[in-house]
């Protein structure tokens, strides 16, 4: 499938600590997305990027920030993690906003 690597794949951390998740792609796609998946809510968009240094908020952006300094990397940061941010985080990429999105394997984040 599409060349998308998420790291780390699993992380356990404590409330109040900063956390950064990385999404790396080898497809040179313009669009990159971060979603979270929670029981009862399905997947929800956190932030997305439509080019280097171009980002916008999604449905559940509070408590998260993102950065994209080069085409292949999209970082998601939790400045001060809270237990409500325990979730599975997925990165996705697409050539354009109306083209199919392809997903990475996810990062399972637990905040104690």
């Amino acid at each position: 499938d599409a060349g998308i690597t998420q790291s780390p794949r699993h992380k356990v951390t404590e409330t109040g600590t900063p956390v950064t998740l990385r999404c790396h792609q080898t497809e040179n796609h313009r669009y990159m997305y971060w979603y979270r998946q929670d029981p009862g809510h399905g997947l929800r968009l956190i932030h997305y990027s439509y080019g280097v240094k171009d980002t916008d908020k999604g449905e559940v952006s509070d408590g998260y920030s993102v950065s994209r300094s080069k085409t292949e990397d999209f970082l998601l940061t939790l400045e001060s993690a809270t237990s409500s941010q325990t979730s599975v985080y997925f990165c996705a990429i697409s050539e354009s906003w109306d083209q199919p999105q392809h997903f990475g394997d996810g990062t399972r984040l637990s905040i104690l």
Partner: protein
Amino acid sequence: GIQVEQSPPDLILQEGANSTLRCNFSDSVNNLQWFHQNPWGQLINLFYIPSGTKQNGRLSATTVATERYSLLYISSSQTTDSGVYFCAAVMYSGGGADGLTFGKGTHLIIQP
């Protein structure tokens, strides 16, 4: 934003049975995708189908954009078809597109 509803929420079938999963959406869409989330949590692209009909082996999908629904057909089910099937859509709103909006999924169990 767009609303996506899937039915049924749960489905249990015997191996070899056929099934139809439905996705209703609240507005015109520019992108509609079907995914299979396997027991390992990976999101597998099944179809990119904003309109029309596509087939891939035992799976096929039809989207009737004018009536705002999409159907996923699974024929001759196998135990490996078990998992959660998600429908997701994107609608361009003039100010931009906000990534995929997911339905809550259909949890399919295929019993041997």
